[in-house]
């Protein structure tokens, strides 16, 4: 084993990249859950986003259009979930699971002809001045644009939830939908919008995997990232900034185990590959201290 082959600067730099897909998916789910809806279909929306983004990006040659396509694909799938849970009043846990199974099948079907193709990549962009700072430059300022989109989304979500009136209404709907309904807010409409936002974010996260991180399309490529995003929302106690911490913690774990694999640590590869999932469980056990939104997962039916 050769631990000296692990470069701490590169490790920290790739941490941000590894955390981005989960961060994107998790920030969307956070908004959905703050609106009182538990969508367990993140994995399905992510993988659908991954394939939609890949297909659009390969077709148009533009990764930006790919990400837009991914967001649209994720939002469309989320809309199905929204119709089922909000208008047809189905059980949210079961519908979320169905969404995941459906998304895995749908993505495999769409992606059939795209296996083994390479995705168009973002042109190498280097933030002038900031990117040239030694050590900090390569860690923070030399990434692809989507890394910063993720960070901006976290900040924007925090601002929206805590500094705007619409954010307050959304939180009210999540805390007590009957009271929000009595005050005249359109519970169902707000929730549908939140669900679609969540789907779009999950789609972006999935496309980040297929367009930037891997960058290829393979069946089932999200490999549980959507579920980890769900876990991170719980870990974060439904607070945007703590979500960032959770995603980086998880990204760090992933990158570290990949580096240890490459360095030839005397532990079999399979056990290292388990570590992110085990770490997620450990984190869930010791850190799930936050309070869930009051109406989370409950069915809203106006005429009660």
């Amino acid at each position: 084993m050769d631990l000296s082959s692990i470069n701490p600067v590169l490790l920290l730099a790739s941490l941000m990249v590894a955390a981005t897909p989960i961060l994107l998916a998790a920030i969307g789910e956070l908004v959905v859950e703050r609106a009182g809806v538990l969508n367990l279909g993140v994995e399905g929306m992510m993988i659908t986003g991954a394939v939609c983004g890949f297909v659009v990006a390969v077709g148009t040659g533009s990764p930006w259009l790919g990400f837009i396509g991914a967001a649209a694909g994720g939002a469309f799938l989320a809309l199905l979930f929204g119709i089922l849970t909000q208008y047809l009043l189905s059980n949210q846990v079961a519908t979320g699971l169905a969404l995941t199974l459906f998304g895995l099948g749908l993505s495999a079907l769409i992606g059939q002809g795209y296996i083994g193709i390479k995705a168009p990549s973002f042109p190498d962009w280097h933030i002038p001045l900031l990117g040239d700072i030694p050590v900090i430059g390569p860690i923070v300022f030399q990434h692809d644009p989507m890394v910063y989109v993720g960070l901006i989304l976290v900040a924007a979500t925090w601002w929206f939830l805590h500094k705007t009136q619409s954010g307050l209404v959304l939180r009210a709907v999540g805390e007590n939908h009957d009271a929000a309904h009595a005050l005249g807010y359109k519970v169902t409409r707000i929730r549908i919008l939140a669900i679609m936002f969540g789907g779009a974010c999950a789609g972006l996260g999935g496309a980040y995997l297929s367009l930037v991180r891997v960058p290829q399309w393979t069946e089932g490529m999200t490999a549980g990232a959507g579920w980890i995003a769900l876990a991170i929302v719980v870990f974060a106690g439904w607070k945007p900034w703590r979500l960032l911490l959770g995603a980086y913690l998880f990204g760090g774990m992933t990158v570290l185990q990949l580096n240890l694999q490459a360095a030839g640590l005397a532990i079999p590869v399979e056990y290292l590959s388990m570590s992110p999932y085990l770490a997620t469980i450990v984190v869930l056990v010791i850190m799930s201290s936050g309070r869930a939104p009051g109406s989370l997962g409950r069915i809203f039916h106006a005429s009660r």
Binding site: L40, L80, I83, L84, L88, L89, S90, N91, V93, A94, T95, L97, A98, L99, L101, F102, G103, L104, G105, L106, A108, L109, Q112, E219, A223, G224, W227, I228, L230, A231, V234, P268, E270, Y271, S273, M274, Y277, L278, T280, I281, L284, V285, S288, H301, A302, S303, R304
Partner: protein, 360 residues
Amino acid sequence: MITLEKRAGPSKVWAFATPLLAVALTMIVGGILFAVLGKDPFETIRTIFLDPLFSEFAWFYRPQLLIKGAPLVLIAIGLSFGFRAGVWNIGAEGQYIMGAICGAAVGLALYPMESRLIFPLMVLAGAFGGWAWAMVPGILRVKFGTNEILVSLMLVYVAEQMLASMALGAMRNPEGMGFPGSRNLAQYPSAANLELIKDSGMHWGIVAALIAVIFAYVTLSRHIFGFQVRLTGQSPRAAKFASVNPARMILICLGISGALAGMAGLFEVAGPAGQISIDFNVGYGFTAIIVAFLGRLHPIGILLAGGLMALTYIGGEIAQSNLGLPGAAIQLLQGMLLFFLLAVDVLTNYRIKFGKGGTV
């Protein structure tokens, strides 16, 4: 304007009709999907849903139906207890893998000894493996309030890595010339899950699945535990007043589903699959979730739903080889089935009212 009015109780008629309606809708939308893919929709639907039973090669497919259906029914029966009581074990796939690993470990450890006791011992080990794997989310939920959905699912990925590690390392066939995968248990008479009646496909896993159906039926309709499960599902508050211990309920529900999934894994590895290999698991643990819901969490319903799902598997394989239908289309069809079921289920619990929605 269309409004929904909550029924006093679930409609008995619609409880039976919705799964059938969901199947019909899936066939229609599936047919459109096949047409889009450039296949003849009617021929494809017929191939998937009828050919395994009635075509001239049905004698070959019928045993396959039993082999595919048994693990689905066995796992779904276990899941149905938890789903009724609001305990969401969605990591059955992991429990299935761990059951197979533990059961196969016993068989491989005793190779080449011959004894009648080996196979029953393996079944016990398989059930234990699945049970133990399900106890992880169970104990974490009871002790720390950790969400069992996420933990049980994370453990699926851990189990998959464990399976790879076993196939490549500890359980690799010493006479396998370095190829991954264990010894073939199906060729080790004391450990093999043999066909009980020649060419019927009938093996011990199918017997176990039928026993599980009867056991679940009796428990749910006659035993105090079944009553508590139903009560917890219908009204958690009432269950509390009836002094149902929630921690105990969680552990028992996860334990039952884990043990049955583990047993399903063992029957598979000792019979149809034969060996521990990297790609041993094929998603039965997830499809069983569809089976459980499609069967309305009722034992008899699950038996029928398991049969239907096995039909789509086998029919899907036929459509794949005969009509060139992509395998993913079948996966999509199965997902669609669950979607439609959840969608039309609104009719069971609500009445649709047309006209002006009165005083809301």
